[in-house]
Subunit: 238 residues, 2 copies
């Protein structure tokens, strides 16, 4: 299993790994361009005629993507699940037009996430949507669990908003596991700006649970083919 926090790097002369990297780079490049288009779209004050013309052009682009499309629950071949790269995650995915995207890195005792929110993530005018902050922390907490060898799903998340989260500003989110109880993992974390890490804007506590192997297989049929990456001893622990 790959480390949960580092995508597999291509070994020299490993064609499969090189193809994977090429695919991921192309997905990320398209994600980047779509994020710029999203940003331009939510900022523009163009006329109805200009917007309608653009809508026609967008429809034509969508029509070009006529090949194989994965269904919900199909795990993309470029992904590592559980506990690894998710190219289309709405929070961290380099290929997601929705994601800031947040870059997650391990640190002593936990993980940190870095990103900037755009106008597309706006809640109150000029600030990030409160739900977006919850989403950043929920996702980062999942990475903290995975980094601690305990991948799991959220069962509760309590978020407290202490100050508005500015847009277009480098943000620093952090998360760490504070304890465990059977299959439950307790996580805490916060969001600040990069420049003022002592002023907490949003803080949260979460409880995650590692599903038993039976539940994991029932909920994620696509896992059937990749059960070898499941840390069974953790997932089936009572």
């Amino acid at each position: 299993m790959n480390s949960p926090l580092t995508p597999s790097s291509p070994t020299p002369h490993d064609p499969a790994a090189e193809n994977m990297e090429r695919q991921r780079r192309a997905i990320a490049a398209l994600g980047h361009e779509l994020r710029l288009l999203v940003d331009a779209t939510v900022r523009t004050t163009a006329s109805p005629a200009a917007l309608n013309h653009l809508a026609d052009r967008v429809r034509a682009l969508t029509g070009q993507l006529t090949g194989h499309r994965r269904r919900p629950a199909d795990i993309p071949e470029v992904d590592e699940f559980p506990g690894g790269v998710r190219m289309y995650s709405p929070v961290t995915g380099a290929g997601s037009p929705l994601a800031p995207p947040m870059r997650v890195t391990p640190v002593d005792g936990g993980v940190v996430g870095r990103c900037r929110l755009g106008i597309a993530h706006e809640g109150p005018p000029g600030y990030g949507h409160g739900g977006v902050s919850a989403m950043l922390l929920d996702e980062l907490f999942g990475w903290a669990c995975a980094a601690a060898g305990r991948p799991g799903m959220t069962i509760s998340l309590g978020t407290r908003y202490q100050g508005p989260v500015p847009l277009e500003t480098p943000l620093l989110a952090s998360a760490r596991v504070t304890g465990t109880d059977g299959r439950k993992t307790f996580v805490t974390g916060s969001i600040t700006t990069e420049t003022d890490p002592s002023t907490v804007l949003v803080e949260a506590d979460g409880i995650f649970v590692a599903p038993g192997l039976d539940m994991a297989r029932a909920r994620f049929p696509a896992l059937g083919s990749i059960t070898s990456v499941l840390p069974d001893e953790e997932m089936t622990q009572p």
Copy 2:
């Protein structure tokens, strides 16, 4: 002030209102096409060459949006803030490529929101991201506060996940105000599927606070020109 839950309808022979409606329709049409493009993008298994070609085409489209662009904190002319239509809300905005979008309607004692999540909102394979559920409820809670005449901002949100939220399935979210304490408003709500409204998948409790008028003006400079829409007696209540 418009009702918080109904966009202003054009009166016959009101050119300003008709222009507003035309602008909103064009924004919504472009938002719709972008959501389809986002969906196709996160599902496709196209080759790197095809993805790179598409990225070039997307960049060209973005380059066409060269006119005036609003800055963060500028309130779009098509919006009603606080407590009204937000065309680019990442949750309800008909013009947002990120939003499902959730449609909010008033009901006896509260509000309900209806939407379907797509693969772009995926967390665990096949299910909605937990943070997206938190975002739906955070937003809907804000509408519940506004519908009760108490627009405010989230200060805390506690979300409990009882079952996975399916993708591409009609969802029903509901929220109601359960009490008030000075400027605080207490809200509760849940998410179910439309077809099984008795099985709660996600439930949450939130506390919202109406900022005093001074804080509202300090945080939202753009409000300066539209203070007449602020329900002052509520917003300045201790």
